[in-house]
Symmetry: C2
Subunit: 185 residues, 2 copies
């Protein structure tokens, strides 16, 4: 296993554990055991647990962005592209491991105490807002629509996380349809 593959393996494992249990509940020894990588090696690859956390969040941002972009790319009309975001959420919510937005979770846990985490969460959400804004612009809809659609997506994520059900995706999607159609006229 190459150096970069191992690094990816560690970050991926850390992401799974942090997301499932919360960052603070996962010790370096848990990560060592789960990843099968000696503690010494972990510390030769990363200077601290905090560095791992930040890399986990950056990776999670890439995967989310790629995933939603790919989903949006499967349809052609601007309206369908906007709605595809909620279909992506629906699939995500149905995943057994779903436990809300990892950035909101990380922000809640460490945002007040670790500024880098708060910063990454902010960047992630800004990136999503820009993504939606671009789609809204492509649809020729007024710019006001974008933050409304983003808020629906955010709300669906926390609602699904806490309720443990997947309905919020469909509910947000139907609300989005109404908002898009109302903005179009």
């Amino acid at each position: 296993m190459s150096q970069t593959d191992l690094r990816e393996h560690v970050v991926k494992t850390a992401d799974r554990l942090y997301y499932a249990r919360g960052i603070q509940s996962v010790g370096m020894d848990d990560l060592r055991a789960e990843a099968g990588v000696p503690l010494k090696r972990l510390y030769s690859m990363f200077p601290s647990k905090n560095a791992i956390v930040l890399e986990v969040l950056q990776r999670r941002h890439r995967i989310w962005t790629d995933g939603v972009s790919a989903r949006v790319a499967t349809v052609t009309s601007p309206r369908d592209k906007l709605l595809a975001v909620y279909d992506y959420l629906a699939d995500w919510f149905a995943d057994d491991s779903f436990r809300g937005c990892g950035f909101i979770n990380a922000f809640a846990e460490m945002g007040a105490v670790t500024p880098e985490v708060a910063q990454l969460a902010r960047e992630h959400k800004e990136s999503f807002q820009r993504f939606v804004s671009d789609l809204v612009a492509q649809a020729g809809a007024p710019a006001d629509l974008a933050p409304q659609l983003a808020i629906l997506a955010e709300g669906a994520q926390t609602t699904a996380a806490i309720s443990g059900t997947t309905e919020a995706a469909g509910q947000a999607r139907r609300a989005a349809e109404v908002l898009i159609d109302a903005a179009a006229r």
Copy 2:
């Protein structure tokens, strides 16, 4: 200071610290220092930190419920009552100490590890859903509208928390207007 007043003082102080810094970042000694109550007394009033956390969440639920109910009661038309929810959010977001929904934060931090916290978060959100559902029913709007409005409120809270701005309340309010008016016809 009476026994019950002291208990309230401790829970209120704990709430302020937990909300501002995150529950896990606040030790019993921090709480002792901030509340000015000896550790021994804390442990004579509460069996454990966890018990304090649960009581903090229950109190927070009461205050939130009372606050939003009071705000809704200041207007008369069913439509205004629904929109008053977002005005309440706007005021809350403008508070310097605002740092998102305490239940979402607690859930993110401890939900996976402390089932009672997950349970209280679920109950809080269900209670809010019922509250909105009642208002929707009073407005004579279709029941589908309620979860959509609730999702907007949830999304506004996390968006405001992470962005650090208050705009999300107004954006959610305007989206709600569109949804309500679309449902009314």
